[in-house]
């Protein structure tokens, strides 16, 4: 029942928000996000004793049920979702959003969808939430985004919808391979059936699932929707997209692809790794020449996700553990980045690095926050980014083929390039000539609170990552087995 709360709280408060007007909506959204975070904290805690699960009949005729499970990976991602949404609500609470009721309503609905995706242990239920998480985001971007929002969001929607349909075809095919009269979408049954398929079948079935997940992550060359969508969305939505929704893709690979089609994965893993690494280098190179901070971070996100997806296919348990940690940390760091970008944009009305400069003098607190989060983004030791990235490279290195060494070197190049563009951005935005930026207000109380949560997590998990490592240790080794 507790797991159901994780979905129901944002869902019901989200629906309620549509009816409300004025400041009441903000308060409701904030309280709702706090309650959800508290529940996800409880769920994560329970994971150390007995993982929670929930099961209820849904449509018995087609073997699908409402079954949720919160293992290490699920509860970690629910915790991340809880934290990120709450930070967004806090940081947004002094801003006037036009038409606030629907805006917060859709935000909370998106959260409900995300929670569902992370918790579902029934494939059809997973599919339903996978689609439902998309609909609110579609409305959010199209209504509150920038100038080109409608076309860009539509591209994003069609792209991901097409991927989802491929996954649906794959699921139906998979379920139909079960013995006559015994259709079941339960995770265990899906895994058992998938494993038993002939390698040849797994090899083509792999793509039906993989395309859906690759579009979401996104992996090169399925990424073209992403920079535009990030750029055109209002920042709170960009945070939902980049910190949480892309994790859906990676999560789906770990839960619904690697264990289900092992032979298919083994056959195609080299291809995927090469694509991911191309993505890392390609995105990093493009990031270097960006002048718009938002686009820069969008490309840096592609690079980070590329590294994680490459490691996901190397079949190493350290690497897998690293992915778990890095999923969480990347979500935290990129949320911090976007928050600062939105603060910059609000104060100075531009995201163009050429026009920025001197933040350290005019808004020192903000500049310090930017520096810390940027350092975490490039994985400096004692920040949370370091732990995950170190484990990821460790995973790549442990892989037994010589090809992987090349992969590792090229991926490492990506990290170096990452330092180049991130530090370049910090330098241009935070330092440089003061004259370019008019003195403006430093952090307000709520912005301070939002960033403080992010930064304390950055440092705490950088110094003492043990809770996060413990939470995800079992599931990481289970996936590799």
């Amino acid at each position: 029942m507790v797991l159901l709360l994780l979905i129901l709280i944002p869902l019901l408060t989200g629906i309620l928000s549509f009816a409300l007007k004025g400041d009441g909506v903000k308060t409701l959204a904030l309280i709702s996000s706090m309650a959800t975070l508290a529940v996800s904290g409880y769920v994560s805690g329970a994971n150390f004793t007995a993982p929670l699960a929930y099961n209820h009949d849904w449509i018995p005729a087609i073997g699908t049920s409402i079954s949720l499970i919160a293992d290490g990976m699920s509860s970690m991602l629910c915790l991340l979702t809880g934290i990120v949404v709450m930070v967004v609500m806090i940081a947004n609470s002094n801003k006037e959003t036009p038409n606030a009721g629907p805006f917060y309503g859709f935000m909370l609905l998106a959260q409900a969808g995300l929670m569902g995706v992370f918790l579902a242990s029934d494939a059809l239920l997973f599919y339903v939430f996978w689609e439902l998480a998309l609909i609110p985001v579609y409305f959010l971007c199209s209504s509150w985004g920038d100038e080109k929002r409608i076309a860009v969001t539509f591209k994003f929607f069609i792209y991901t919808f097409l991927g989802s349909l491929m996954m649906l075809a794959g699921l139906i095919f998979l379920v139909m391979q079960m013995p006559e009269g015994h259709i079941s979408y339960a995770w265990t049954d899906i895994v058992a059936t998938g494993k038993s398929l002939a390698p040849g079948v797994q090899q083509w079935l792999f793509w039906l699932f993989f395309i859906a997940f690759a579009i979401k992550m996104p992996i090169f060359p399925f990424h073209t929707w992403q920079p535009d969508a990030y750029e055109q969305s209002p920042t709170p939505v960009t945070i939902i997209l980049s910190a949480l929704m892309v994790k859906m893709g990676l999560f789906a690979v770990l839960r619904w692809l690697l264990p289900v089609l092992p032979a298919g994965v083994a056959y195609w893993s080299d291809t995927v790794i090469v694509l991911s690494v191309i993505g890392i280098v390609y995105a990093s190179l493009i990031a270097i020449v960006q002048t718009d901070i938002k686009r820069l971070i969008a490309y840096s996100s592609i690079a980070h996700m590329g590294l994680m997806s490459a490691v996901a296919f190397t079949h190493s348990s350290v690497g897998m553990h690293g992915i778990m940690v890095q999923m969480f940390n990347h979500g935290i760091n990129i949320t911090g980045m976007w928050l600062i970008v939105s603060m910059i944009e609000n104060r100075w009305g531009t995201r163009d690095m050429g026009k920025l400069g001197g933040m350290a003098t005019s808004a020192p607190q903000m500049a310090i926050a930017l520096v810390i989060i940027s350092l975490a983004n490039i994985a400096l030791p004692l920040t949370n980014g370091f732990v995950g990235e170190f484990m990821l490279f460790n995973g790549l290195f442990r892989a037994d083929t010589t090809g992987h060494i090349v992969v590792m070197v090229v991926a490492g190049l990506g990290v170096i390039l990452g330092a180049v563009y991130t530090l370049n951005m910090v330098q241009k935005a935070a330092y440089g000539e003061v004259t370019k930026m008019v003195i403006s207000k430093d952090l307000s109380v709520n912005e301070y609170a939002g960033l403080a949560i992010i930064i304390s997590l950055v440092i705490f998990l950088g110094v003492y990552p043990k809770p996060l490592l413990d939470l995800t240790a079992d599931i990481a080794s289970a996936i590799v087995k």
């Binding site: 018995p60 087609i62 339903v128 199209s142 349909l165 649906l168 075809a169 139906i172």
Partner: protein, 460 residues
């Protein structure tokens, strides 16, 4: 049987009503009441059947068979008709002077529907299709001042009669090969290994005739003009419940009578399905009028329903019933929104969300359902037909093609949503939307969502 008699009597009552009652509103109220009674009759028949022995009673010298599936289908379709009548009564009154006759014709269409769902004999199929079609030719032309409506009627009539000829030819050839009209005899006499070429030709003729009735490509040419030209409330009926009935008959014939000859017709059917999906979806993308888009969308949706016939297995009945209901409810709802607007182009929807939030919300739910977004009836329906056809095996290429086409369909359905929510404008309404209309639309939305969450409700 009770329902068949009842609907005929009600049709005649409606015709007399036109003489006795002059007030259009009272006529419509009587019609709605009679639809409700008819639904009651159907439910009564369904309920009493459950306690009768299997197999179901044979009627008309064995030419009709009642069983649970077709009684259930009749009940659901009568329910949809009642919903339709409630949503559209005002609009039907606006079409012309002969309101009572319009309703009478709808009762006769229902009579055809009942025959089609329970036929056991090719002659009954023929009679059912004619009873279903002739009232439609009249309804299509009921807006006499409008040239397009007359054109639609004439076109539909000419093409329809031509198809009737093909249908009869098919039945004759089958009779020549099997010396029987009874589907049970056909199953016994026609075997794959000793199939008479006459019978094969007959099957193809029947397939062409029925494909015409369900507007499957390449027999779809009449659909856009007829649906676009007919008065909108009648388009809503023709493109939904009538189409579902034709599909039910199609499935009944090809599964029950020609099921074990499926090797002979499956490939042709697969090509028809692929063509229908392609033509419907791709052409719908280029439409500027929402009404015409919905006409093409009905072709595209027919492509999905053809999957049930293509599969012809244990899941086919469930999937055709669910698809028929989900598609009908969503499309009727969408037409109910459409008739409220002055301008039927996409631009006519601009800014509707600001002006009438509830209307826009309802339309969004209906469009979600048509596009197949989860938790709406349309998703479950698509899911069931795909399940049926994947179980059949060997047609996975078609499934993937269909899903690609479903992604295309998102393009034209979401264009309406974009116009309503994101484009600035002042959508002009024909008349203010009353509280009753809003309530009814909300109920329809609820049905759409309920079908998506608990599809077992309509699956007996």
């Amino acid at each position: 049987m009770k329902a068949i008699i009842a609907t005929t009597i009600f049709g005649i009552i409606m015709m007399f009503t036109s003489v006795m009652v002059s007030n259009k509103k009272s006529v419509a109220a009587i019609a709605v009441a009679l639809f409700a009674v008819l639904l009651g009759v159907n439910i009564f028949e369904l309920y009493t059947w459950n306690h009768a022995a299997t197999p179901g009673p044979q009627l008309c010298y064995g030419m009709l068979t009642l069983d649970h599936t077709n009684l259930w289908f009749n009940t659901l379709m009568t329910g949809c008709t009642l919903l339709y009548a409630l949503l559209m009564t005002k609009e039907i009154q606006k079409v012309g002077a002969y309101v009572a006759e319009y309703f009478a014709l709808i009762f006769f269409i229902l009579c055809g529907l009942y025959l089609l769902s329970s036929f056991n004999n090719l002659l009954m199929l023929f009679i059912g299709i004619e009873i279903l079609s002739i009232p439609q030719y009249i309804l299509a032309g009921s807006d006499k001042r409008n040239l397009k409506s007359s054109e639609a009627s004439l076109k539909y009539f000419l093409m329809g009669s031509f198809t009737t000829g093909i249908l009869l030819m098919g039945i004759t050839l089958i009779y020549g090969a099997a010396r029987s009209f009874n589907t049970a005899d056909l199953v016994a006499i026609l075997h794959t290994d000793t199939l008479n070429p006459l019978a094969l030709a007959g099957i193809m003729f029947l397939m062409i005739a029925l494909a015409f009735k369900v507007s499957a490509a390449p027999m779809h040419m009449w659909t856009p003009d007829v649906y676009d030209g007919s008065p909108t409330p009648f388009t809503a009926y023709m493109s939904t419940i009538v189409k579902a009935a034709a599909f039910f008959a199609f499935l009944r014939l090809f599964k029950d009578a020609f099921g074990n000859l499926s090797d002979h017709w499956r490939l042709v059917m697969a090509v028809i399905t692929a063509a229908t999906l392609l033509v419907g979806n791709i052409t719908a993308v280029f439409q500027q009028s929402v009404k015409r888009m919905l006409a093409y969308s009905s072709i595209a949706q027919a492509g999905f329903m053809l999957f049930a016939i293509l599969a012809s297995n244990s899941k086919s009945w469930d999937s055709i019933i669910l698809y028929g209901v989900a598609y009908s409810v969503a499309t009727i709802g969408m037409f109910a929104v459409l008739v409220k607007l002055k301008d039927y182009t996409y631009d006519g929807f601009n800014g509707l969300a600001k002006k009438e939030p509830l209307l826009a919300f309802a339309a969004t739910i209906f469009l979600f359902s048509l596009a197949g977004i989860p938790l709406t009836g349309g998703f479950m329906a698509k899911y069931y037909v795909l399940l049926a056809v994947v179980q059949q095996g060997s047609l996975l290429w078609l499934v993937i093609f269909a899903l690609l086409m479903a992604a295309v369909s998102v393009y034209y359905y979401f264009r309406v949503i974009m116009a309503m929510y994101f484009k600035p404008g002042e959508a002009e309404l024909n008349s203010p939307v009353s509280a009753t209309d809003k309530m009814l639309l909300l109920v329809t939305c609820l049905v759409v969502i309920l079908l998506g969450v608990l599809p077992q409700l309509v699956l007996g």
